[in-house]
C-alpha cells in the first residue's frame, strides 16, 4: 500500500481512496440505471420523459413495506410476497396513469404528456403523504431478508454489500430482458412501431391503446423493482417524493448519457454517472480540506460530462440516430 504524506502531515491510502468510490459509484450507478431503464422504455414507446417513474417506484416500496411489516390491519406477509404485491401496485398505478392521463391526450403534443406525468408525480407524492405508514422507515436489505451477512466479500477491508450486488444483478437481468423483448418479440416490435408512427401502426391493425397499456405496465414493473431495491439502508427511505427529488433527476441524465433509445444505454449511462459522481466526491476526501472550499463537485462533474458527451455525440453513448 502506498502512503503519501501531504504538506500538512496527513497520511492517506491511494488504494483505499480508489476502491471506495469505485464500489459506491457502481452501487449508485445501479440505482440510476434501474430507474433509467423505465425512463428509456417509455421514451422508446411513447416518445416522452416520464416524471412519474420515481413515484411508481415509491408506491411499490411503500406497499412492500406495509405488507412486509403488517402495518395496521394488513397481514404480515413474507418479504418476497410483499415485494410481489409492491411490484403489482407499481404496475397498477402505471396502468391507471396510462388510462386516465396518457390515453386521453394521446394525440396531443408530447410536451403536454410530459407535463401530465409531472402532475401524476405530484399527485402521487400527495397521496403517499396521506397514507398512514411511518415515512422515515426503510425496507430491509437483501442480507437481512435472507438472514445472511450483509456483504458478499471484502476487498482490501472494504465490504461489497449484498444489496449492491442484488441491484447490479437485477439491473443487468432487466436490461437484457428488456433488450430481448424489444429485439425478438412481436409485442416489442409493435411497441417500437407505435413509437415511430402510431397512425401507421393502426393501419396495419395494431391496437395502439393496448400497446400503450403494455408499455406503461412494463414501466410500472421496472419502477416497482427499482423502488424495492433502492428504499433500503443506508440512504434509502420511504419518504414521499424521495426518489423523484433525488435519484430521478440523475437517472434522467443517465438515460440521456446512455442514449434515450437504448436499454443497455440506461445501464451504461447509470454506471457512468454513478462512477463520475463517486470519484468527484472522493476527490474531496482525497484532498483533505477540499470539501470545506468546494462543494457540489459531484453534481458539477456529472453535468459537465453529460454536456460534453451530448456535444460530441448528441444521441448519447449507445443511442441510435433518429
Amino acid at each position: 500500500m502506498h502512503e503519501l504524506v501531504l504538506a500538512g502531515g496527513t497520511p492517506f491510502s491511494v488504494q483505499l481512496n480508489l476502491l471506495t468510490p469505485l464500489f459506491d459509484g457502481i452501487a449508485n450507478g445501479a440505482a440510476y440505471g434501474l430507474l433509467g431503464l423505465g425512463l428509456v422504455l417509455l421514451y422508446k414507446s411513447n416518445g416522452i420523459f416520464n416524471f412519474a417513474q420515481g413515484e411508481f417506484a415509491m408506491i411499490a416500496a411503500i406497499v412492500t413495506y406495509v405488507f412486509d411489516s403488517g402495518t395496521g390491519v394488513l397481514p404480515n406477509l413474507p418479504f418476497f410476497v410483499a415485494a410481489l404485491l409492491g411490484v403489482v401496485a407499481g404496475v397498477l398505478v402505471a396502468l391507471i396513469t396510462e388510462r386516465l392521463v396518457i390515453r386521453p391526450m394521446f394525440n396531443r403534443a408530447k410536451v403536454i404528456l410530459v407535463v401530465g406525468t409531472v402532475g401524476v408525480a405530484l399527485l402521487l407524492i400527495g397521496v403517499e403523504g396521506l397514507l398512514p405508514y411511518p415515512k422515515t422507515e426503510q425496507l430491509p436489505d437483501i442480507g437481512t431478508v435472507l438472514g445472511v451477512r450483509p456483504y458478499v466479500a471484502k476487498v482490501d477491508q472494504i465490504p461489497i454489500a449484498d444489496q449492491d450486488v442484488a441491484k447490479i444483478v437485477m439491473l443487468v437481468v432487466l436490461a437484457i430482458a428488456a433488450y430481448v423483448f424489444f429485439r425478438y418479440t412481436r409485442t416489442g416490435t409493435a411497441i417500437l412501431a407505435v413509437s415511430q408512427d402510431s397512425t401507421a401502426a393502426r393501419v396495419v391493425g395494431i391496437s395502439v391503446e393496448r400497446i400503450s397499456a403494455i408499455s406503461w405496465g412494463i414501466a410500472g414493473l421496472l419502477g416497482g423493482v427499482a423502488g424495492i431495491l433502492l428504499a433500503v439502508p443506508p440512504q434509502g427511505t420511504l419518504t414521499p417524493g424521495a426518489f423523484t427529488g433525488s435519484t430521478l433527476i440523475v437517472a434522467f441524465a443517465a438515460a440521456v448519457l446512455g442514449g434515450m433509445t437504448s436499454l443497455p444505454g440506461a445501464f451504461v449511462g447509470g454506471m457512468g454517472l454513478g462512477l463520475i459522481e463517486a470519484f468527484a466526491n472522493a476527490d474531496a476526501a482525497f484532498v483533505p480540506g477540499l470539501r470545506s472550499v468546494a462543494n457540489g463537485q459531484a453534481e458539477l462533474a456529472v453535468f459537465v460530462v453529460l454536456i460534453l458527451v451530448l456535444l460530441v455525440r448528441p444521441r448519447g453513448l449507445l443511442g441510435q440516430e433518429s
Partner: protein, 233 residues
C-alpha cells in the same frame, strides 16, 4: 356482380369541421376503382374513414355484406380491408422485412406466403430487406407501403395517393404492379390525382366538396367533362 364495398351516405370530418357530406358508392369484387378529385375534396377522408382511422359521423360502410363502420381499425384489417396510407408512413427505424412482417400483424398465418408474394411484385424490397425503411428512396418506400398493406392478404386494398412524389416512370411501374395485384384477385380502390391511372381503372369516381359527382366506368369518365370539371372547375 357482387358488391364487396358499399358506402352509403357517409359523413365524417375533423374536429367540428365536416368534410364528407354524404358519400355514396359501391365497388364490385375483383374490380379496380379510382377516385379522383382536387386537394380537399375528401378523397383521403373517405378511405381513412372506411379503414377506421376516422370516426364515422353518419351513414354506413358495408364490407362483404357486414357493416364495418364504427369498428376499430384493427378489426377492419382483420376482416380483410387494408390501407396504404398517404405519405407512405413506413416505420423508418425498422427494417424493410420487419415493416412487412408488421403488415401481417392481424393474420400471422399468411405471413410467409404473403412475404413471397410481395417480394414477387417488388424484387427490390427483397434485395433491401435488411435495410432500415427510412433509408429507402421515395419510390422504394411507396413499394414498401403497398407491400405492407398486402401482407394481411386483404380482399380490399385501399391506396391513398399511389403516385405522389414519384417520377412518371416509377408511377407507371407502381400502377402496373397495382394492376397485377388486382388481376391476382384483390379488389382495389386507388385515390389519385394522376389521370394516368385511368387505363387501369374498371370504375372511376370523382369527388368534389365531400360528395361523389361522378360514378361510372373508367372509359366513360374519359369521354365526359366531369374530370375536367373536377380539376379545372
Amino acid at each position: 356482380m357482387t358488391q364487396l364495398l358499399e358506402v352509403e351516405d357517409l359523413r365524417a370530418g375533423y374536429g367540428s369541421v365536416p368534410v364528407l357530406q354524404g358519400v355514396t358508392f359501391s365497388v364490385a369484387e375483383g374490380e379496380t376503382a379510382v377516385m379522383f378529385g382536387l386537394n380537399g375534396a375528401g378523397k383521403s377522408t373517405t378511405v381513412n374513414t372506411i379503414a377506421g382511422l376516422l370516426k364515422t359521423w353518419g351513414g354506413k360502410v358495408t364490407f362483404d355484406g357486414e357493416v364495418i363502420s364504427g369498428l376499430p381499425a384493427s378489426e377492419i384489417v382483420k376482416r380483410g380491408v387494408s390501407l396504404c396510407p398517404e405519405g407512405r408512413r413506413v416505420f423508418p427505424q425498422l427494417s424493410v422485412r420487419t415493416n412487412l412482417e408488421l403488415g401481417a400483424w392481424t393474420n400471422r398465418s399468411v405471413q410467409a406466403e404473403q412475404l413471397e408474394r410481395v417480394f414477387g411484385y417488388f424484387p427490390r424490397l427483397e434485395e433491401r430487406s435488411a435495410q432500415m425503411a427510412g433509408t429507402l428512396s421515395g419510390g422504394e418506400q411507396q413499394m414498401l407501403a403497398i407491400g405492407r398493406a398486402l401482407m394481411s392478404k386483404p380482399r380490399l386494398l385501399l391506396i391513398d395517393e399511389a403516385s405522389l412524389g414519384l417520377s412518371p416512370k416509377l408511377t407507371q411501374t407502381v400502377f402496373q404492379v397495382v394492376d397485377q395485384i388486382n388481376d391476382d384477385g384483390t379488389t382495389v380502390v386507388i385515390v389519385e390525382q394522376n389521370v394516368g391511372v385511368l387505363p387501369y381503372a374498371d370504375q372511376a369516381l370523382v369527388m368534389q366538396k365531400g360528395t361523389i359527382t361522378f360514378d361510372g366506368r373508367g372509359e366513360a369518365l374519359a369521354k365526359t367533362g366531369d374530370l375536367r370539371a373536377a380539376y379545372l372547375g
